[in-house]
Symmetry: C2
Subunit: 355 residues, 2 copies
Amino acid sequence: MSERYDAARLKRFAADLLRKAGMPADRAGVVAEMLVDADLMGHDTHGLNLAPQYLEALASREMPRTGEPKVLSDTGPAVLWDGNYLSGVWLVRHAMDTAMARAREYGLCALSIRRSGHIACLASFLPVATARGFMMLLFSSDPANRGVAPHGATEPVYTPNPIGVGIPTPGDPVLIDISASITTMGLTGRAGADGERLAGKWLVDADGQASDDPAVFGDGGALLPLGGLDSGHKGFGLGLMVEAMTSGLAGFGRREKPGQHGASVMVMLIDPEASGGLESFAAETGFLADACRAARRPKGAPAVRLPGERALKLKREQEKRGVELYPDIMPRLAEWAERLRVPAPNPIRGKGSET
Amino acid sequence: MSERYDAARLKRFAADLLRKAGMPADRAGVVAEMLVDADLMGHDTHGLNLAPQYLEALASREMPRTGEPKVLSDTGPAVLWDGNYLSGVWLVRHAMDTAMARAREYGLCALSIRRSGHIACLASFLPVATARGFMMLLFSSDPANRGVAPHGATEPVYTPNPIGVGIPTPGDPVLIDISASITTMGLTGRAGADGERLAGKWLVDADGQASDDPAVFGDGGALLPLGGLDSGHKGFGLGLMVEAMTSGLAGFGRREKPGQHGASVMVMLIDPEASGGLESFAAETGFLADACRAARRPKGAPAVRLPGERALKLKREQEKRGVELYPDIMPRLAEWAERLRVPAPNPIRGKGSET
């Protein structure tokens, strides 16, 4: 079992690394918080696992260290920014502040970002909005990358295209963070590196057969859209919806053949107060959540879990007991700690050794 | 093979029936057009198949014949109507006119409708918006009905919750009309009535096993969320998203235990001119559509089809050759034709008999 680290200490550590790599302190703090929150919630491919590549991008200046997004258009409730490949995690959090203020004024706001940096874990952002009483939708695609085949094809054309949805209820929010493909490139790559099969036939091979072998990705195969060979036209539709909501409305995407990885993003905030009221909204979503939990299930089957329920439970546990990082993460960060002369944290329990 | 009917003649026929049943002529024309368009596109459970139940609802006054939706709130880009169970097909088309005008002004508009009547085929509405250069999203749920089990459960809690998305491109629009479940109640009911199995294991039985037997629905089973037993947490998430976007924002839903079938609806119109411009938008979506069509596929496999491609091709064919109706539709309409003294159309080719 891997070692555990204090969450607050990890956030300071990650913020220090990003700051030493050139990012302004306030932005470094935001990015560190969102990344460690992803680890706290168990989304461990999209937390500190990404820090080394962000540090690398800051070092190479592929990710500019400073600068502001450029406002390309602004009607009030519809805004378009050029992100100039600044940190996508910071850009999204920054966009949320604008969009929440606009949603309070107009009832909703859709803020599109072209040429954003990578935005990491969608689920990290959602509780920031739901805690303030907003419903949030977040869409992202990377026009410089491709991993998913259109339904009926075997060649990757577009990215997994995640959809994040935060829904306030009277209790914990519902936090949806799903891709329009069955699995992601991150999980496929990790299974491949670990010499393991995927837990299901979530890829398509060059002959059009479903496969659980990570090696078919990159060897004429691709990720399958949600729904698989059977109902993949639906996942394909969702993938195209996300492409239109992101690169389409941002007016910048695959057609421009971007020379670097990044993201086209849409941040949509909706204020239920402007329509039926937050109280009615939460009464409906809470009623439905209770009905889902109470639904009959097969004898011996585990309780129905709402999206985000396990993640929030894990977050609370790990905030107390420390964060369990995927084993290869701290060794990779330790190299950066040495390079940037930032002290690396000790595990909470373990051999007491500085990594 | 069933008989074919002239599309324009069918629209006049359906409009006459609705008008004679008490609906104002302009509304009857809109509803007839949207229903026959569904049949033209091959969505034959959601076209004229629904006309008898609409006529019945008009006769019983469960669907009011006249009256306007009530505006409950209006910020400009965010609007909430109480639909008073008026024809949902007319309400959506009417809401689109408001929302398109608002989207021109604000860049986007989200119009929610509580207590709408049934809205029929989502795909019928989308080309009306895309032809005017808008991206459209349409969400619907019926808070008085349930068919889909939460992931991990076997009891139906919510409806299939369709998502409609219309995306302009330089050529034909992309028209997405998918439910958050693998199949729908309409198709399951039809297979059951015809004594057939479903084409896949799209239901869950009372023991939690996937099944293609329509009889398990209504016998302790339910429709599976998109993704099935393997990845149904994603379809479950989409279903909850639609519930929040519809009944949540409308402030009226399952909690109120509505006494009659109907719909909670969100109509969202987005004007790409307000952000990156329609030309850039369509350049991106067209580029992606071309890339999808050109994607490598297994030897001998059919060409990749974009969502809506087959429907639009079928529509063009049937506009020329006549509409092929599902066999039980015209006999059911003939009863209403006699009752309301409206002459029923003759098939284009056939035995020349008045049904």
